[in-house]
Symmetry: C3
Subunit: 370 residues, 3 copies
């Protein structure tokens, strides 16, 4: 055995002073979507759209097979950026202009690049700043079906390594990324009606009404399963999986316990809304903005609601309409002083919003499909 | 943003007064069996039959590949009926005449229909009644290998929505469903013996004796994993996954905690019995009847036993015999007053039966296979 | 119903007096690697080598597709031997000469044989002895790509069934097993550099220095997920999954609680070391020796470090070097008396080594690949 003469403490991820406007990260790893990942996440979140459940249905609609739902596409693509962008972050501040392109299938391999659009010091907290990035996920790089699967911007609060380091403050222009939702062509000869019983009967474009808020009926209690789920996404942030680190200095970390990766309530809220909102969608077009408004911990139960804000014709597709909606996630916290409130929190409980997301969804018209 | 002018509380599933004799549900969704689902459930339950573990063995026996074991086929098919039939149920009362047909493989897509056979008000509880249904699961609808995978009846206690609603009491005849266990032909030229070491040596037809009770050696402690498992089956019943709902009114729910979906002990007991009973089975022919006799909760350990009640020749297959058995599941509950009893519960513990199932199994004869 | 006239208590696995020098077990079951198993384990352990994440990368390097990492190959192969060799063991004592051969892919089926090399009574404990075995795992037996995937020896402490039974003490020669790490040929025309951003930039052969200890930055808290993980590996040892058994006699079992299967920290430590050590490896050649030095329980957080002990040219491959290293796993235990020590345990905590493994790894040279 060799004598050990030096010890390295490897640290991963960048700190605030490491970022430069215009800098581009080609992220490590990449990720092939296996049937294992697909099942774990699609179904964990109670996604009900048959495009993600029933391969016969998906193929009849013109897809190659089971379609990865947008929540899982987001989880896979986003997680690829964590080590470079947010391993040393305190919190994810905002999702911006998240757009979907080519469909993602089991067997496809995702690779992601990120461009730094801005670095701004925090106004009040010395060792913190806001990093603004644009990320783009491609599938099957170099193959004939190479395509952009999604692109998005986000702002994230990143710690400094050295509290007195100079920042490379500044801005860079976002790249113009060609990323528009691929839609299977409407086939006038196809017998869509024979499969109409497989999706919910009351979530066609004609069923939505501007000004409606839909409280989705189901809740889902999260367990410590989140540690495993986060690991299999390659999300390496230690605040999700290293209890010992948190026990050393609980006050430094939100809630003094392992916090659930934000992508999980993101996906779970999409899933909980799915029977009422997404069952007859052909895809999510974009999420103009979104944010987490409170942390989520193991043992808490997640609920969701959707507000319908606008209904538009699809510019090219008479068989589809576009629903503009806001997805809202919440949990309840015990609060002995709370009386039963107007938002349906029972007495003794306080409703705590945890997530909100603007969505534009391409939804089938009953006139064409049922 | 549009102003929100109305709020909808979406409720899913039918209540007692919604059912009508003869009514048919074509269930939503459907489900493609992925390798993710297959692994999670087959192996979670400690299934040991090599047909479900070893693709070389399964193909050599004449199957297309790994065979979905009956417990998982049941879980997938049964769960498809939950939203329409039992989302608003208190409990599942009885399984009746569950029969298996075509083998189910990874990649196959299951779709299920249910016919209502009867509605009977509960004798003592005003807001409850018994719904009797017949369900049939087909695979690969519309394709050349479309086939019935299984069919079964069940009785379930369903709540009324409106305590004073009139019921559509009455009965309907069950459909005659052609569903007989598919068996790969015996190939006199095949070298089955060269693979005989891959299954247990003492579970051939010749090894069983009427009047024997076999206590299976293994136990398995369930964890809160059941929440995730139930979600990925598309079983949407809230009593399995919504702790907040239960915390609001614990007395209304069995045990005041999340109850484990009955399909999980069903499958787990089959798995625990597998090394002693099912390792040399080519399939389960039918389950004439079965029921849950106590609930199961996270943290409890499940055990199983099998009683051998009859042994019959297979009418068409000299290489096989039919074992008629009763599968019994149990757990133990702390009971300070309990002395060590004749059924092997240790002092201080009471044995609690949780599940029983009549089984008819097609089992290989050693004379032909080993 | 037949009257039950006898009850059998089936026990599985061998006891110390059942083993004979030279005896060969052809283990039951076998196991096909599904995408479900692959994802659950590869990613659970935070493995970062793109060969196990990115099918495009793996194929470009000359593999058929995603490569099962050595930790998962070990888990699958080792678990096949548990019922016959160590179902009735107290503890696994030592891994010896574990060597890797053909690459293992999703879809491959593993079958394992074990030869008994020695039986020695324990010096101090009457009902215990050491069984020394050699196991070999083949894939796709009988097919054109049949190959040895790995071979290893281990020593395990096995209980006697009957405390006064005579042992078959003695020794047998190990078989000479042809098992050398398969390496994809170096292709001078391939554009490896275009993919170099997908693996870590500082873990090429040139980056290692003898005498260095690398503390890997990440920790991973284990949960009761280990019960499920162990079950899906077919590891049937009851000390990992039967809480009731342990509650009957806590003192008999290590720590009085379910102990985590040693293969899990084995794999997890490999995964935690992966970004710093294994990201540019083409494979693990062998593990000359390894052992568990303390048990691991749910709720504890695992960390790892690697010491670099030797660096050698690869005898046949100028594009590769061989790194000889020692992988070390540890956890921390609360210890009010402990002061902050030189090994970086914080005050109030004691560092507890749990695992050590000698590794020889075939690592790419930057000169050829980046």
């Amino acid at each position: 055995m060799a004598e050990i003469t030096r010890t390295l403490h490897r640290k991963t991820g960048n700190f605030l002073e490491d970022f430069r406007p215009g800098q581009v990260f080609r992220h490590k790893g990449g990720k092939t979507v296996t049937e294992g990942l697909f099942t774990t996440f699609t179904e964990f979140a109670m996604t009900s759209n048959p495009l993600a459940k029933n391969a016969r249905y998906a193929r009849a609609y013109g897809y190659q097979g089971l379609v990865v739902p947008p929540g899982l596409a987001m989880l896979v693509a986003f997680s690829q950026t964590v080590e470079d962008v947010s391993e040393n972050a305190r919190t994810n501040r905002e999702y911006i202009d998240m757009r979907f392109g080519a469909p993602l299938y089991v067997g496809d391999t995702i690779e992601v690049e990120t461009k730094v659009l801005g670095i701004v010091p925090h106004r009040k907290i010395d060792n913190l700043g806001i990093v603004h990035v644009q990320s783009t996920a491609r599938k099957n790089v170099g193959a004939s079906d190479e395509a952009v699967v999604m692109t998005w911007q986000r702002k994230v609060d990143v710690f400094k390594r050295d509290p007195v380091a100079e920042l490379h403050s500044g801005e860079a222009e976002p790249d113009a990324v060609d990323c528009e939702l691929w839609l299977p062509p409407f086939d006038a000869g196809a017998d869509y009606k024979s499969m109409a019983h497989l999706s919910s009967a009351d979530s066609y474009f004609e069923d939505f009404e501007v000004g409606t808020r839909i409280e989705h009926s189901r809740g889902r209690t999260m367990t410590t399963e989140h540690i495993h789920l986060t690991a299999i996404l390659d999300n390496t942030s230690q605040v999700h999986c290293n209890q010992f680190m948190i026990d050393q200095d609980p006050k430094r970390y939100v809630g003094g316990q392992l916090i659930i990766f934000g992508g999980i309530p993101f996906t779970l809220c999409l899933g909980l809304s799915s029977p009422d909102i997404g069952d007859n969608a052909l895809g999510d077009i974009c999420y103009p903005t979104g944010r987490h408004t409170a942390p989520l911990f193991a043992g808490e139960t997640v609920f969701a609601a959707t507000e319908i804000h606008a209904l538009r014709d699809h510019p090219d597709r008479p068989d589809l309409g576009i629903v503009e909606a806001r997805l809202l996630g919440h949990k309840f916290q015990a609060d002995p002083a709370a009386e039963k409130d107007s938002e349906n929190a029972p007495a003794g409980w306080k409703k705590v919003p945890i997530f909100e997301l603007e969505r534009q969804i391409a939804v089938k018209r009953r006139s064409h499909y049922a």
